[in-house]
Amino acid sequence: MKRLQEHFEVHDPNLNLIIQTSIRILVPFVQLFGLYVIVHGHYSPGGGFQGGVILGASFILMGVGYDLKKSMELFPEAWNIAMANLGTTIFVGTGLVCAAAGGLFLDYGALSNWIGIEPAAWRSLGIFAVEAGVGFTVTSVMLSLFWDLSSRGELDGGL
């Protein structure tokens, strides 16, 4: 009990201990579920967009429970921009690699000219690469939307 009182004297009393602890426990599971939704998109409902939104929501949860500073410690601003770029580049790059392998743009089956596994398997891998790229972009854009909209672009404090 004394430790709790000290905690509230040291920290901002607006930040609730129960909420913070439960969010800290919850966030790894949310992230794991987001990765599952992205990776398992071939066999169950899901895919890059949905999984990316769940992954972004885990960081948003940290931003809601603590403050934007905590969220930006976990996922720095520079990484955020780099990851949005990386996702789009992965998508376009996959298409360009397919074109270089002798097919059309985003025609994953043409990659079997280089490595001789059947085109259906290449299409499956190509879809996975594309979904991963979409997941990266959506994660970082959702997080950056939350940062900007909740702090009026000043990136301090937050809600």
Partner: protein, 130 residues
């Protein structure tokens, strides 16, 4: 006239979409508050998404994810699997809608910072006084 009414009532699912669309449309063109306009746009979008997804429904159809046997042997019965194409289109539409909502909220925040209000006629007044 009686037969027409019966035909319309038999397709009552379309009534829901049309009523949702009317709510959104009225909010977009009739309201003076910009946030209400944005909410109206989202309601309109929801109506269209519901309409498209309901087009793909088939009676006694399952979700568009094939079982292992169907996928391996390629023996999917077309009547047993609902139409996946509207789902794909609406996945696209939802994502674009989120982007549009984000940009619109950002613009609204800028307008509020600039003029101190989100009411359309007050903003127009302040613009004309400059």
């Amino acid at each position: 006239m009686d037969g027409l009414m019966q035909e319309l009532v038999a397709r009552y699912n379309y009534w829901i979409y049309v009523i949702l669309m009317m709510i959104g449309f009225y909010a977009m063109i009739g309201k003076r508050n910009l946030v209400k306009k944005l909410l109206g746009m989202n309601i309109f979008q929801t109506a269209i998404i519901l309409f498209f997804v309901s087009i793909g429904v088939k009676n006694q159809g399952s979700i568009p994810i094939l079982s292992k046997k169907q996928a391996l042997e390629g023996v999917a019965d077309v009547a047993q699997v609902i139409n996946p194409l509207p789902h794909v289109l609406m996945l696209t539409a939802i994502v674009v809608g989120v982007s549009v909502t984000g940009v619109a909220l950002a613009v609204l925040q800028r307008i509020y910072k600039e003029y101190g209000t989100l009411e359309e006629d007050e903003i127009l007044e302040k613009i004309s006084k400059r």
